[in-house]
Structure formats: C-alpha cells, structure tokens
C-alpha cells in the first residue's frame, strides 16, 4: 500500500499543473481551510434552516420576549418573542444569497467590460473606462444606497444595487492583467490562425486572468455581504419582517443597553461569515499568486 502511494506521489510530482500546485498550497494553509470549514458549516446551517427551525422565523411568543440565550431558545428571543436562532438562520439565507449573487453579477459584467476595454483598446477602452470612472467617483456604499433606495427596498433591488457598486472595481482589476496578456506572443499567434475576437477574449485571455477573478470573487462576496447588510441596516435593503442580519441590528438598536445580545448575535454572524470568506480568499490569493511564494 505504502509503496504504491509513494509511486503515485512521485508520478504526480513530475507533471503537476499550476492549478494542482496552487490547490496543494491552499490545502496546506491552515487558516484558509479554517475559513472554508466555517463557511461551509454556516452555509449548511442556513440551507437547512427549515429543518433546524421548522416553526419558521415569524412565530411570535409574546410571553417569552427578550429571553436571553437559554435551553429552549438557543440564541434567545427578540422584542416580539421570535426565536433569534430561526431569524439568524433564515436571515443568513438572504445575506449569503445577496452576497453571492450580487458578486457573481458584478464579476460577470465587470469582466466583460474590462476584457472589452483591454481587447478593443482606444475608443472602446476610453468609453468604457471613462464611464466607469464616473461610477468610481461615487463611493460604492453611497452608490448602493442611492440605487437601492430609489428603486425601493427588496431583495432583488438590493442585489442590483450592490452589484452595480462592485462593477467599476472589477473592471479595473480585470483590465490591467488583460492588457499585459494582450501583448503576449500567443495572442498574436491565435490572431494569426484567424481566431475570432470572442474566442481570443474568452478562450485565451480569460483563463489567464482566472486567478485574479477567483480571488476578487471570494474577497468581493464579503464586501457585498457587508454593503447589503449596511443597506438593510439603513432600512433601504431587505424589508422587515423578512429577517436580515443588518435589519435585525437596526431593529435591536433601542434595546441596546438592556439586551446587548440582540446586537452582538447578528453582528457576530455577519462578521463570522465575512471573516471566513476573507480568510479563505487570502489563502486563495497566497496559493494562486506565485509572487508570494518566497
């Protein structure tokens, strides 16, 4: 057994692709794995919210208002006697969903814009990048507030607002590396065999900036979750009674001095999710960026 494994290992050593090596580095990174583990646990908990709390997030028990964490209510109850555990788990669903979908949308649009800007150059580059400069001049948070608020608060509008706020940053991060790849010889080679523009962009340039994209996706989900929860905190995102961590925090404000757990628990949930996402993202970046190998 042992001998066979060793042989396999050696065979792998010989032709190990860059991605394999990156994965190896990632798995060896303890903090990144810790982040991933926490993240998976939270995602599982939130997706099985209806199994863990079958009664739903909206059952009010007025005789049990403000119960601090105990056996019956693991995380206590809020001002209306609703179970905090259920609200945190169901709220996590919307927070995570908004974070992932919004970041996915901004990555998709931002990548296409950045690639087009880099590929077509000149006029196209100027039009795209100057338009994005306009969005860039408004801080992301403010932009999200404006868009989210003016379109009205709902999960869908929250996603739109947060993803638009993320686009300019992504387009810029994509454009830089894409420009340097444009000067490579293999791009010239693909041009010479008459490959279509779309083919060059998505088959030859995109895979080479995939590590940049993967890292900005993992780090960006955290930013999106933070922005979305801030929107909900201001009452401009997800509307009550649907639970959302930011909205729960703003609802608990008046009881801050008497029942601090109403503040600490939702905030801690946001911080834990974003922290685990960032830990994993940092690990990914270290693994994918050969420059940091020293």
């Amino acid at each position: 057994m042992m001998g066979k494994k060793k042989v396999n290992h050696e065979a792998e050593m010989k032709h190990r692709s860059m991605m394999d090596e990156a994965m190896r580095r990632l798995v060896r990174n303890k903090t990144a794995m810790l982040g991933l583990a926490i993240l998976i646990i939270i995602i599982l908990l939130c997706s099985f919210a209806n199994v863990i709390c079958p009664e739903g997030y909206d059952v009010q028990n007025m005789s049990a208002r403000f119960t601090p964490p105990c056996k019956e209510y693991i995380l206590g109850t809020d001002a209306l006697g609703r179970s905090m555990l259920a609200r945190i788990l169901y709220g996590g669903r919307s927070s995570l969903m908004i974070g992932f979908i919004a970041e996915f949308i901004s990555i998709a649009i931002g990548t296409v814009l950045g690639l087009c800007a880099a590929f077509f150059g000149n006029k196209c580059d100027n039009i795209i990048m100057r338009t994005l400069d306009v969005l860039y001049a408004i801080p992301g948070m403010l932009l999200a507030i404006c868009i989210g608020a003016l379109f009205g608060g709902s999960v869908r509008n929250c996603i739109i607002a947060v993803s638009i706020a993320g686009i300019p940053g992504i387009a810029r991060t994509v454009r830089g590396p894409a420009l340097s790849i444009m000067n490579m010889e293999y791009i010239e080679a693909t041009r010479s065999i008459d490959a279509s523009n779309v083919r060059i962009m998505f088959r030859h340039i995109l895979p080479n900036i995939s590590s940049v994209l993967i890292v900005s996706f993992t780090m960006g989900v955290g930013v999106c979750i933070l922005t979305a929860s801030s929107l909900s905190f201001l009452g401009l995102g997800v509307q009550p009674p649907s639970p959302e961590w930011g909205a729960m925090l703003s609802g608990a404000r008046e009881y801050m001095s008497k029942y601090p757990y109403l503040i600490t628990i939702p905030g801690l949930s946001i911080a834990t999710v974003v922290l685990s996402m960032n830990l994993f993202g940092d690990g990914l970046r270290d693994a994918l960026d050969p420059k940091l190998k020293y």
């Binding site: 946001i270 911080a271 922290l275 996402m277």
Partner: protein
C-alpha cells in the same frame, strides 16, 4: 509638473459632468413623484402643477439639467430643496464640514494605526506580532462599521460611561464616530502596507544597502518605505472615499447631522435637489483627494514625475541618462 496638474484638473471635469448626468437620470428612473411627497397625495392637480412650475419640474429633463448646471457653474447655486423650500447651499454649508472633517480625522487615525502596524508586521514576518497584525487586518475588513459602532457605544458609553452616545456637541462627541471609521479603515491600509513592504523587503537594492553597511533604520525609511509608498498612498485615498461613503451609516448610529444624514433624508423624501447636491459634493471631494494622491505619487517617486512631465527637454535628459546607464552596464560586462 504644472501642466500635469492642469491636465488632471481638466480630466476631472468630464467625470463630474458624468456624475451630474447620472444623478439626474436617477430621478428619471425613480418611481414616486417628488410633488406627491412634498404636497401629500391629496393635493389638487393645479397645486401640483404650480409646485412643479416653481421648481422647474414641468420642463423636459434636458432643460432642467441645463438650467441646473448653468446655475451651478455661474453662481455656485445648488438650488432649493424640494422638501423644505430652503436654499441647499446654506443647508449643506452647515452639514458638509462635519462629514468632511470626520472623514479626514478618521483617515488620519487609520493611517496612524495602519501604516506603522503594517510595517512592523512585514518586518516581523511570521512572528507573533505579524500574526497579531494580520488578525487585526482581516478582522477589520470583515466587521460591519455599524456593528463596531454599536460595540463601542455599548462598551464606552453604556458600560464605562466615558463617552457620549450620540450627537456632536463637544470634542468628546467626535471621538467615537471618527475612531470607529478610523479602525475599520486602518485594517485595509495595514494590509496594503504589509504586502507592499513585503514586496520590497527582499529586493536586490535592499541587500545592496545592507551590504554597504547601511543601518536598518535608514534602509527601512529611505529604501523600502520610499519604494512601497505608492500603493499605500492610493489605499489612504481609497479609504477616505470609503469613510465619506460610509458616513451615512455611521451618522445614523451616532445621530450626527452631517452629509450622510442629509443624503438619507433626501432619499426618503424623494428630494432630488438635495440628493444631487450631496452626491455631487461627495464626488468632487473624492476626485480632489484622488488628484492629491496622484500628485503625491509624483512627489514620492521621481520616475512617475518624469513620466508625466511633458517637457521634451526633461524627457530627453532622462533618456540620455538612461542611455548612459545602459552604456555603463554594457561596458561593465566582460
């Protein structure tokens, strides 16, 4: 250099024009008539018409935009608020300095914490201090600003009774809001500083400096820091923008009557005149800070300066110098 500054200022104009068009477009896409909110839904059609006439809202959007920009550029007049009917200039002249000052103070605190901690972290790479700084950095970018604000209020105001909870009446009131934004921003600055210093710390010229017996202090200050300053300055400018952007959240927590608060009330009341003014002012300040950062690059890094100075003479001199260096290199080859 002067040419470069003028060029950069001129480049700001289209961006700001774009921002103003964007905020005007927001009004077009938004459901809900500002007249309904100002006059109530029961107002008669004539009253609505008259009210709209007063604010020029019956004209087409292009005419409205033209009028607005004309007033803004010639008189610096940002119009009157739909909601209160008072001049926006007087309203914002009270609120603007508060948010601006807070963002400046917060950015200063953030730099004061982030840059030194980042340097120490990079210097002690892999040791305990580095682990602590990395933890601080990653926790700082993961914590929502408003939650940190609540935690500080619970600790310093409610438990220890050291600092006031809300308002902005004395110097003491400034501490919590600006420190809150400052700590969150410092985390990003720390991370950028750390990675930027790490990029340079094992560079060849650092080894050379060490080999010629330079003290560690001088190496850090003149060789490593000087070379890693550009990303740090960029990140400080970005954090200023973030601080101003998150002012709405922090001002809500601490009940401060600043720009963020006006922005929110403008949004809630569909007061587009006020909202336009707020967003434009914030965009102008972000652009100015970015401009200052860009000019800072030229001060820090002579390579940037030479790239941007358009004078042919200088460029030629630079080329000659480079050619001389290259010559030297070739000659030194055996």
């Amino acid at each position: 250099m002067v040419k470069y500054i003028i060029k950069r200022i001129l480049l700001m104009i289209p961006v700001l024009l774009g921002v103003s068009i964007l905020v005007f477009l927001l009004q077009l896409f938004t459901p809900g008539d500002p007249a309904d909110i100002a006059l109530g839904y029961t107002a008669s059609e004539e009253a609505v018409y008259e009210w709209k006439e007063q604010y020029g809202l019956n004209d087409s959007i292009v005419v409205q935009y033209g009028n607005y920009m004309w007033k803004l550029i010639t008189k610096g007049d940002m119009g009157i608020s739909y909601r209160t009917g008072t001049s926006i200039n007087t309203e914002l002249s009270k609120r603007w300095p508060i948010s601006f000052k807070m963002a400046i103070i917060a950015t200063c605190i953030a730099s004061a914490i982030g840059i030194p901690l980042g340097i120490v972290s990079a210097k002690n790479r892999g040791k305990f201090l580095d682990a602590f700084a990395r933890l601080f950095g990653i926790a700082g970018i993961s914590i929502p600003v408003f939650w940190l604000a609540f935690l500080f209020v619970m600790l310093f105001s409610i438990q220890l009774r050291l600092l006031p909870v809300s308002g902005l009446f004395s110097l003491k009131h400034w501490i919590l809001p600006s420190v809150t934004i400052g700590i969150v921003s410092s985390a990003s600055i720390l991370r950028v500083t750390r990675s930027s210093v790490l990029d340079n710390i094992s560079a060849d010229y650092v080894r050379t400096a060490r080999a010629k017996g330079q003290t560690e202090k001088v190496i850090m200050r003149h060789h490593i820091l000087r070379n890693s300053l550009i990303p740090i300055v960029t990140s400080v400018a970005t954090q200023f923008a973030a601080a101003i952007g998150s002012s709405a959240v922090v001002e809500t927590v601490f009940v401060v009557n600043g720009m963020g608060n006006s922005t929110l009330s403008a949004i809630n009341n569909r007061d587009f005149a006020l909202l336009r003014a707020c967003v434009l002012l914030i965009a102008v300040s972000v652009c100015v800070i970015n401009l200052l950062a860009d000019l800072g690059f030229a001060l820090i890094d002579p390579r940037v300066k030479s790239r941007f100075s358009n004078s042919v003479k200088h460029a030629k001199k630079f080329q000659l110098k480079e050619a001389a260096i290259n010559d030297g290199k070739e000659k030194s080859k055996p």
